[in-house]
Symmetry: C2
Subunit: 362 residues, 2 copies
């Protein structure tokens, strides 16, 4: 791999530290004096404590939240692995810009700033208003025949995410959601999952946006061939290099999300992962630098079978389980409202002492 | 049982009809033309369709939401079944009125009108501002020795709920959350669950607000004795009368919540059930009239073991699973934000036709 093109990435990665253990303990001590039985707010307590340990300070201002929807096309769609034609990636980006998609509705309702990033759509938007034009290439190459990206293309896509994370820091965002749109990208996510976790293709491949049984069997065959071509027999190969996995079977939007995760961890910003595809990006970041997991929340458990495998790999527990399988960042944005609730409880509840409420009998 | 005192209840019950099957089908047809793969919003689609089938109309105005926190004391606390002294019920009501409790914080954040109802607290509030004084009695009787309520006391508590539901209709609320506060009330909920579902006490009894192993064993012994006293051996007794169960081993706040569920169903208002205790109230309502289940949402899956048993009994699927075990309506209010999200998606997303997005290949 061409190391020079990855200098920006390696510099960021080397500067990542874990969230503060001291602030984690301090926040749990605060939670225990609030007027409720200790631990009775369950996962909400863990969420609040993690947010405080990430920020390394008490903070009471409202959470400034942003979602980044990265769009790109996939060469593998030539193999008919998706229920939708690939031009839907382009059409859905226009739908995002017109505020008509699911993620737009949720972002508006929950006061999350929406960012739509073209990192590799196979269409010309002609400078459309509201679109962040960071196009690296009009779609990846067909990974059944060759690597999805060159070293330089991957590095460029990673830098898109790194730069957006740095910009988010400047703008005062403390909670980011990952979103994506790319027809064919559950196939890339399945390939990443199989390569990283060494699970069988069958276990980590699902119906994506809605394949029937025959089409799912075909998608699995294509994926078997992709894995064999790039990585050989998983039982005989050594631990994979995550950037090599990303370059060979990833996507431009996936690389950008990996960059955003790394950049956010570097800047001590929390990131809410969405479904299968964004978790594949987070898993690559985690394989590069395990400390990133302290900055991550899993927004939800999606219906795709590979998602649970990846959540376990990264060590994340999903906030929501609503059987969603849409992507776009919808599950992550929805989970932001739970994180916001957790922080409000942390900051606004009375203590046993202030409210004159008796504590539990010893 | 003195039937005359229950006339108001039986009249309401006989007027309950199921939500509209026609509107349910119509709302699913609408969901299928929105710009997303069919079904990909998972449970959110079911939630939106249920709301429309309850209202029997399309509606785009914001959801007017209210939470009712019913507070009452329990005679069974004389048997030391709780980790907290019973005066905490009184203290927590004061905390609700001072906006310091968890449910206050969540209700404020999610724009839910908060109502605190004293239906049986063992203390005098002297006309405290903001408190709805509907006190029936200063706590129930000790159900280890006698029935928790008389016929008339139970009927009065049920009417509290019925009347609040009618008032909610007048005020234009379309979504209500159940909440409760009552030291000792997980014991009542466990007794109701054991009696209604004929499960063993051991399976439906948990640590409540935080009992240790010895105290939990004691709570189970007390409950075994309560069940034996009032219902005899569950294997040999016939199907229990739900109002008889409520009167013998329920609570005043539980009876009021049962009334609220029945009244809401009568008035075609959706109700979000919270944790174990409020679900016990909903289970009594369901046993009286199974049609109420169409009006119910389960806000969350609580950590109490009996809760899952009751959700299955009523046929409800929890929206959230955050390992919460606080009560007060906290899980229900949190779930309201998910229901609100589902309705926003239903009303605001573009259609395939309006956005010019291609549908899936046939």
């Amino acid at each position: 791999m061409n190391i020079a093109s990855l200098t920006a990435v390696t510099e960021i990665v080397s500067a990542i530290v874990s969230p503060s253990g001291e602030w984690l303990a301090r926040s749990h001590a605060h939670l225990d004096v609030l007027t409720k039985p200790p631990g009775s707010l369950g996962l909400l307590e863990d969420i609040a404590a993690q947010m405080v340990s990430i920020r390394q300070e008490e903070f009471t201002e409202p959470l400034h939240k942003a979602v980044y929807v990265f769009a790109a096309d996939h060469g593998i769609t030539a193999e008919r692995v998706s229920a939708y034609p690939s031009e839907v990636t382009h059409q859905m980006v226009l739908n995002f810009l017109a505020q008509g998609a699911a993620v737009n509705v949720l972002a508006k309702l929950h006061q999350v700033t929406m960012n739509v990033v073209d990192v590799g759509v196979n269409a010309d938007f002609g400078g459309a208003t509201g679109l962040l034009d960071r196009k690296v290439r009009r779609g990846t190459r067909n990974m059944l025949r060759e690597a999805a990206m060159s070293d330089e293309e991957m590095a460029q896509a990673l830098r898109v995410g790194l730069e957006l994370a740095a910009e988010a820091k400047t703008r005062g965002y403390c909670l980011l959601a990952l979103g994506e749109m790319g027809i064919g990208n559950t196939t890339a996510a399945s390939a990443i999952t199989a390569a990283l976790t060494k699970n069988a293709v069958e276990l980590v491949t699902g119906k994506g946006t809605g394949l029937d049984a025959d089409a799912l069997a075909h998608k699995r065959q294509v994926l078997e061939a992709v894995i064999m071509k790039h990585f050989g027999n998983p039982e005989t190969t050594s631990k994979p290099d995550p950037l090599d996995v990303l370059r060979r079977v990833g996507g431009l939007e996936i690389a950008a999300m990996t960059g955003l995760v790394l950049g956010a961890a570097r800047n001590r910003i929390a990131v809410v992962v969405d479904g299968f595809i964004s978790t594949a990006a987070a898993a690559i970041a985690f394989a590069i630098e395990p400390r990133v997991s302290g900055y991550l929340f899993a927004g939800h458990q999606s219906a795709e079978p590979g998602h649970g495998v990846l959540l376990e790999y990264v060590g994340l527990k999903p906030i929501l389980s609503l059987n969603m399988r849409l992507g776009e960042g919808t599950g992550a944005v929805l989970a932001m409202s739970i994180i916001e609730s957790a922080m409000a409880l942390y900051n606004e509840m009375a203590t046993f002492a202030s409210a004159g409420v008796s504590e539990a009998r010893g």
